[in-house]
Symmetry: C2
Subunit: 234 residues, 2 copies
DNA sequence: CCGGAAACTTTTGAATACCAAATAGCGCAA
DNA sequence: TTGCGCTATTTGGTATTCAAAAGTTTCCGG
């Protein structure tokens, strides 16, 4: 339910391309500062330039790449500031999402998908993509909130959240699951005020726990523009 | 300063196309439910299908159109719910933007662009696009906040805000300017808590003042899919 | 030897032409 | 009238081509 298609086969080709690039950027296989050559990439991904050029603006909107007219696109250099900004906005959006979701449940909506997602986050194969299961849970809350604009803004944020979660795998602990469980139950019981407060606390705890790790893992200054191949020094 | 190019001439062709369509949708010249025929539109806008096909995903992300695979795109039917959702998210984002902006000023940033924008909102040509000047002011606050992710989310919201403002021109009163002035001054004086609270109050006052007008101006049920030409009844 | 201008090359932005697949509309028959 | 199948339009995608701008190299002069 939470994951109908393993790789998004149904969507348009441009979105598949976007997702492929997103994945490469998050995983570091496309390093920060890399120049994205359209012809090279379209050859590599086995598509023409059209779907590629439809994908680039999407990635640009999410801030994964920077495009300047007639100069091409470069992979964004994520810094500590980017991480802080993600927490800043999660702090504004997730409590609202939790609140809406709880209100919806109070109004009769079924929280079963959300509960299933929580269970999945707990029982899923341990090593495999725990960070992904966590962001799935957050997305499930947004879905339950049934708020179109919120969903749009959240999906813009989603890629960055995935990036952030994958950068701090040590946060995937039983304690994290407890936090999620508390939040999900507040929603499932239809208690908007509690859900909103818990979501806020959840984000702020995450920020506090992550920042020390992040500040030693992220560059503090943008990587200068460089070519496709990772050129190691000397 | 606030408006370097009257029509966005510098940007890529796709963004010009997107803006043109956005404008037509907001103004009603492309009515809700209209089917967007790629060939027809590209002929009308004097561009090939390429920039058009790059523009459509942007409008889709902003929720101005709905695209289904192999079925084309239809103009979104704005309802009261859409308006409520805009207020919901402005309530979450604008106080944060105001807060950041005030913090930046307290940290030494210059609020002169913002003050200029306020002055422009007051003195600008009366009839001409007052709603546009108002949303410019909000954008200026976001710019001053100097928060990359916030800027991205806000620009996704921006089109809808413009739509909403143009739908309720009666809100463009001296009282509105007073509210803006109070907010801008709190920011310019570097008072984050006050600025945040004022921004929230501003949004909620707007919601309360607008909803009565909106509920009589917006359809409550989506317009069914229909062809390009506006077919008046009988 | 270094600096700057000119020529060359690469790459993007955009247009045109084309094809396959799928939808949708239409007509026809029961 | 209703259901079925055919045609025709339209989208999604590819390949090719062109112009213009950016970047790079070369070459000449100080």
């Amino acid at each position: 339910m939470a994951n109908p298609e393993p790789s998004d086969a149904g969507a348009g080709l441009s979105e598949q391309v976007a997702e492929a690039l997103r994945e490469r950027i998050i995983s570091g296989s496309l390093p920060a500062g890399s120049k994205l050559n359209e012809r090279e990439l379209s050859a590599e991904l086995q598509v023409s330039r059209i779907p590629l050029r439809e994908a680039l603006p999407l990635l640009e909107a999410e801030g994964f790449i920077h495009s300047e007219a007639r100069r091409g696109s470069v992979v964004h250099t994520f810094t500590l500031r980017d991480a802080v900004e993600v927490f800043d906005l999660r702090l504004r959006l997730e409590p609202f999402a939790a609140r809406c979701a709880a209100l919806r449940v109070a109004g009769g909506a079924s929280p079963e998908d959300l509960l299933a997602s929580l269970e999945y986050a707990r029982t899923g194969v341990p090593g495999e993509q725990a960070s992904g299961r966590n962001s799935d849970l957050h997305e499930e809350i947004v879905l339950l909130a049934d708020h179109d604009l919120l969903r749009r803004l959240s999906s813009l944020l989603n890629g960055r959240v995935r990036w952030l979660f994958r950068l701090t795998p040590e946060r995937d602990t039983p304690g994290m699951w407890e936090e999620h469980a508390e939040l999900v139950h507040a929603i499932a019981e239809g208690r908007p005020a509690l859900a909103e407060a818990l979501a806020g606390a959840h984000v702020e705890r995450g920020r506090h726990a992550s920042l020390p790790h992040l500040s030693e893992r992220l560059p503090s200054v943008p990587v200068p523009r460089r070519g496709r191949k990772t050129r190691s020094p000397a």
